[in-house]
């Protein structure tokens, strides 16, 4: 019995050692030998590390130039002149293109130019002024599509490339890093910008921000202006792909982005405000204004009310409250917990649809 057990364990150990030895020898041979480098290393590692050419090749064909064809009202029969407006990114083989709303908003007829020289006239599928996004569509075969990876989230310090058509010079690639993520407040609370120092100029708007793999990570939208001074100052913004993609799907489905509206303005409570208004706690959103025709007014919400909960969940700031409201389907009724003159109340509000202001 004992002998059997020794034999059994010994057999296993010996076979195990032999197999391991063979594998290790083979592995070290492979690691040192040329065979290993042929099998395990990509062919041109040296060059691909020192250049973004590969990433550019993947993404650049899908970035298009956008022109407006303006027709002279006095000479309607003359063929119009093409005027450079900005850039756009082909998002699908069906020909859907994302760009900025401000790029195309005053164009009569939009012409899309691909990098291979093809030109298409396009129609506007829908626009969302709040996020400054528009979706265009072209009909064409073999359209290059921007590589997407919705799961890779950019981090501060990542190297990025901006692709666009600044000053209508022709396609241009510029390089920088992600300077910040989650910037709010450029024009509305819905935006969640990426900030980059890659050079973005007039005409880059609507173009692509890609990572070093060539995946699309944002739609370039605006350059920070110093005292009305145009030109790049190393502070530029990009709409993250995830947000842009979801807006695109909504625009394709409904032709617009349907958002809920409460009809209030306000601010997150600060310790100073809590003292002035004699609030019990430093939390919630203090209402400063109520739209007289909005859902909040109909539910008797007044200025100086403090909203502390939305559907039983705490609201840490005004933007977060607006985000929750925007995501709520118009017509549905929600419960807000408010504090008025020190007393808590529960108020039922029927959320309305936010009107879209296309002139902004």
């Amino acid at each position: 019995m004992f002998k059997n057990a020794v034999l059994y364990v010994g057999k296993a150990v010996i076979i195990g050692l032999v197999v391991a030895a063979i594998f290790l020898m083979a592995n070290s041979y492979l690691t040192n030998g040329t065979l290993h480098s042929q099998i395990f290393k990509p062919k041109d590692t040296g060059r691909s590390e020192l250049s973004f050419a590969k990433a550019v090749r993947r993404a650049a064909p899908a970035v298009v130039n956008i022109y407006s064809l303006s027709i002279d009202q006095r000479r309607p029969l003359n063929p119009g002149a093409l005027q450079g407006l900005g850039s756009g990114v082909i998002m699908s083989a069906q020909g859907y293109i994302l760009t900025n709303y401000h790029v195309i908003k005053s164009a009569d007829e939009i012409v899309i130019a691909l990098q291979d020289g093809r030109k298409f006239t396009s129609e506007v599928v829908g626009s969302d002024p709040d996020t400054d996004l528009s979706v265009l569509k072209i009909e064409g075969d073999n359209l290059p599509v921007a590589p997407l990876n919705l799961n890779s989230l950019p981090e501060v310090g990542d190297v990025v490339l901006a692709i666009g058509n600044p000053y209508n010079l022709g396609q241009t690639i510029t390089q920088g890093i992600i300077s910040a993520t989650g910037r709010n407040g450029l024009s509305s609370g819905y935006l969640d910008f990426l900030q980059t120092d890659a050079a973005i100029n007039e005409g880059n708007s609507g173009g692509a921000l890609i990572n070093t793999q060539g995946d699309l990570i944002g739609i370039n939208t605006a350059a920070f202006k110093v005292g009305g001074d145009s030109g790049n100052h190393g502070i530029n913004f990009s709409i993250p792909t995830k947000l842009a993609y979801s807006i695109m799907q909504k625009l394709i489905k409904d032709g617009r982005v349907i958002r809920g509206m409460l009809g209030v303005s306000g601010d997150a409570v600060t310790p100073v405000m809590a003292q002035i208004f004699k609030l019990p706690e430093v939390k919630g959103v203090l209402i400063s204004g109520v739209d007289p025709t909005g859902p909040a007014a109909k539910a008797q919400i007044q200025p100086r009310d403090l909203i502390i909960q939305f559907e039983g969940e705490e609201v840490p700031g005004f933007e977060m409250l607006m985000d929750r409201v925007a995501e709520t389907k118009p017509g549905s009724t929600v419960t807000l917990t408010i504090i008025r003159q020190g007393q808590p109340y529960e108020v039922a509000v029927t959320i309305a649809e936010k009107p879209i202001n296309y002139s902004q």
């Binding site: 010996i14 076979i15 550019v56 690639i173 001074d229 030109g231």
Partner: protein, 450 residues
């Protein structure tokens, strides 16, 4: 059963043993040249001594006609023109490309009109420079200094650049002293900007400012890829759009300057335009890039090479070209006499041909003199109506015979002239006097060559 278990435990044991060294392999950090932190410093230590500052001074001379009123006061001996002199100073950058000969390359616009050019070397020395030659159309100038212990910069083949490659700009912006900025290649073959006559720029987002002109654009190996020349900036400063003249183009020009003291521009002898959507559609082409040939000049390099109107030139020496301007800039800077392989599309088929580039200007005048000795000094050009006199040199036989710029020769004696070829043929048989039928503006006249 036991065998199965023993084999299983053997497999587990061997797997455990082999996993251990495997993890230690993965722990070794991936380094580049033994350096864990990437830095451009080692490359720049070798490269920056080759980039110099160029300080120029001179006087701008502007002539102004003296008003007749003053001439009345000062009498008939008063000067007709008043010469105004305005001293100026300028600052730019330059690149040492040949340490032994002391050759420095810079932009023509840096040294244009300068009486005095001083080179500031990286080690603090200041040396006077001599202008060897310059080419305004491509904005390149070659200087020479006499100094020892110079550092030169090697050039890389700029035709192999790709969009996305790293770039480093070295220069002397705003006269601050040597400054290094980094970026990538934003675009290649950029033309149509209206900055120079001949444009075929590398575009980069490395910061380039006033004073960087003439400085070096290098790759990560410290090899020259271009000469920084211009920027697009709405407020005069850098916005991430800079332009450099490719190293290969620079060398083509410099070689000619060293050999002849000037650039002898190569001529293909075609006129044309960019291939665009409509043209490509009309000709049923897949490609949208190339130079469309409208017209081929008689006896030109292109004609000898078999190029015909309607061909689409798609490559030069195996390198694809996008626009007609790019083709023009490349041909012009290749130099007269250069042998060039052109790729072109005819009737949908791709073909290649070898041509030997002709020489600009001189060729035309030589032709005019050869056509008839009394036409010497005129530049002749083929047009639809006939042979156009595009220029007449002052005091030349052509001018003495009364030919004016803009005249179109439509006939000789009683024979109609269609182009240079027929004009040549007719005048060759005509030993004595020839009467040229000329269209000048709206009118027609005869000029008699004796």
């Amino acid at each position: 059963m036991k065998t199965k278990i023993s084999l299983l435990s053997a497999a587990i044991l061997s797997a455990t043993l082999t996993m251990m060294p495997a993890t230690s392999h993965a722990a070794i950090p991936q380094t580049v040249n033994g350096q864990s932190m990437p830095s451009l410093a080692p490359m720049l230590e070798r490269t920056t001594p080759a980039v110099v500052s160029v300080a120029v001074s001179g006087t701008h001379v502007s002539k102004q006609r003296v008003p007749d009123v003053f001439r009345y006061f000062f009498g008939p001996n008063a000067p007709q023109e008043q010469v105004r002199e305005k001293p100026f100073r300028g600052l730019g950058s330059g690149v040492i490309i040949d340490a032994k000969e002391g050759y420095i390359v810079t932009n023509n616009h840096v040294i244009e009109g300068a009486d005095d050019i001083k080179i500031g070397l990286h080690d603090g020395r200041e040396v006077d420079a001599k202008l060897i030659g310059a080419d305004a159309d491509s904005d390149i100038a070659l200087l020479q200094i006499k100094a020892k212990n110079l550092t030169e910069i090697k050039s890389s083949n700029s035709d192999q650049l790709r969009v996305g490659d790293f770039t480093v700009a070295i220069g002397n912006p705003f006269g601050l002293g040597q400054t290094v900025t980094s970026g990538i290649v934003s675009a290649l073959g950029r033309s149509g900007l209206g900055i120079e006559m001949l444009e075929n720029f590398i575009q980069t987002d490395a910061a380039i400012n006033s004073g960087n002109s003439g400085g070096a654009l290098v790759n990560l190996n410290g090899e020259l890829i271009g000469i920084n020349t211009a920027i697009v900036g709405p407020n005069g400063g850098n916005v991430g759009i800079g332009f450099a003249i490719p190293a290969n183009m620079v060398h083509n020009l410099i070689d000619q300057i060293i050999e002849h003291g000037e650039v002898r521009r190569g001529v293909l002898g075609i006129s044309g335009r960019d291939l665009d959507n409509q043209l490509a559609e009309a000709f049923g082409l897949d490609t949208q890039h190339g130079g469309f040939v409208n017209e081929v000049m008689p006896d030109s390099a292109a004609e000898k090479g078999g190029i015909k109107a309607g061909d689409i030139i798609t490559s030069i020496n195996g390198r694809k070209i996008k626009t007609f301007q790019e083709l023009r800039a490349k041909i012009a800077t290749l130099g007269a006499g250069a042998k060039v392989t052109l790729g072109f599309i005819r009737d949908g088929d791709e073909e290649t041909t070898k041509v030997t580039l002709g020489e600009a200007n001189q060729n035309k005048e030589a032709t005019a003199g050869a056509v008839h000795r009394m036409l010497a000094g005129a530049s002749l050009e083929n047009t639809k109506q006939g042979v156009k006199i595009s220029a007449v040199a002052q005091g030349s036989p052509a001018a003495q015979n009364g030919l004016l710029e803009g005249d179109i020769i439509v006939g000789v004696n009683r024979t109609k002239v269609k182009n240079l070829k027929t004009l040549k043929k007719i005048l060759k048989d005509q030993s004595g006097t020839a009467a040229l039928k000329i269209r000048r503006g709206e009118s027609q006249l005869y000029l008699v060559l004796r």
